[in-house]
C-alpha cells in the first residue's frame, strides 16, 4: 500500500466579518455507520465506551473529541475517533474522511449567514447545541451540526470551493448591510 499524503479540501485563510468567523475545519476522521437490521442495540453498545450512543434524528452527541451525528434514516457519522473494534459485524461502515469538506462558522450571528443558504429555522431557540440537520447549503448537500459557539458544516469535498465562496459571499453581504444601516 502506498502512503498517501493527506491534504485539506481547501487552502483558505479564515475570514472574519461582522463578528462572524468562517474557517476550514478539521474534525478528524469521519465514518458513516449504518446499523444492519436488528443490530441497533449492538451498535449502541460498541459506541458506549466512547461516551456515545446512536443519535436520534436531527441530533448529535458529543464526548470530548468524539461525536456522532445523525445523517439520514438508519445512518450516523462518527467523527473525530477511530471506528470501535467489531463495528463491521454490526453495521455498514464507510470511511468518509476524504469525501467531505468541513467548515466552522463561529460567532453570535452565525445563524444569520446560514439563514440565506439553508431552508430551515436555525435560530438558537429552535436549533440549540446538540441539534443536527440534513438539508441543503443552497444547492449543495449539507450535514449541519450546531455547536456551542456556532456551526460545523459538512458538504461533499468536490464542492468545497463553491461552498466556501457562497458562505464567504454572505459574510460580505452582512458586513455591507451593517455598514449601510449603522
Amino acid at each position: 500500500m502506498p502512503e498517501l499524503i493527506a491534504k485539506p479540501a481547501l487552502d483558505a485563510a479564515p475570514v472574519t466579518l461582522a463578528g462572524i468567523t468562517l474557517s476550514v475545519a478539521d474534525p478528524g476522521r469521519i465514518t458513516f455507520v449504518a446499523p444492519f437490521p436488528g443490530q441497533e442495540k449492538a451498535v449502541a453498545k460498541l459506541l458506549k465506551p466512547l461516551g456515545l450512543g446512536f443519535p436520534a434524528p436531527n441530533t448529535a452527541l458529543t464526548k470530548g473529541e468524539a461525536r456522532i451525528v445523525w445523517t439520514v434514516r438508519g445512518q450516523a457519522a462518527l467523527i473525530g475517533v477511530p471506528v470501535p473494534e467489531g463495528m463491521q459485524a454490526a453495521a455498514a461502515v464507510t470511511d468518509q474522511t476524504d469525501g467531505l469538506a468541513a467548515f466552522a462558522l463561529r460567532g453570535a450571528r452565525a445563524a444569520e449567514v446560514l439563514a440565506r443558504l439553508v431552508p430551515i429555522d436555525l435560530r438558537e431557540a429552535v436549533f440549540p447545541p446538540g441539534s443536527a440537520a440534513r438539508s441543503g447549503l443552497n444547492h449543495m448537500p449539507l450535514i449541519l451540526v450546531r455547536e456551542e459557539a456556532g456551526f460545523l458544516i459538512l458538504t461533499f469535498r468536490s464542492m468545497a470551493r463553491t461552498a466556501w465562496a457562497e458562505l464567504n459571499e454572505v459574510l460580505h453581504h452582512i458586513e455591507a448591510r451593517d455598514r449601510l444601516t449603522n
Binding site: 434524528p57 436531527n58 434514516r73 431552508p119 430551515i120 440534513r134 438539508s135 441543503g136 448537500p141
Partner: protein, 87 residues
Amino acid sequence: MRLNCPLCGSRDRREFYYRGAADYLDRPEPDAPPEAWDNYLHLRDNPMGVTKDLWYHDQGCTSWLLVTRNTLTHEILDVKLVAEAGE
C-alpha cells in the same frame, strides 16, 4: 408548500423530489398479465380531492415518503415513511 417529514420535521418543497402517484408502490409480479403492467405504468386517476403520491426527501433524510394531500384545497393531510407504511 411544505411537507412534514416524519424524520426531519417541516421542510420546504425544494428539499423534495416528486415521483408520482402512490400506485408505483404496487408493482405487479414479473409474470403478471400485460393489462396489469399497462395499468401500473400508464393508467392514472386524476382525483379532484384526496390523493396519495410519492415524494423523495433527497436534500434531507433520503427517505421515500407517502404523502396524502387534497388537490382541491392543497392541504397536506398526512406524510408517512414508505419504509414503515407497510408494517
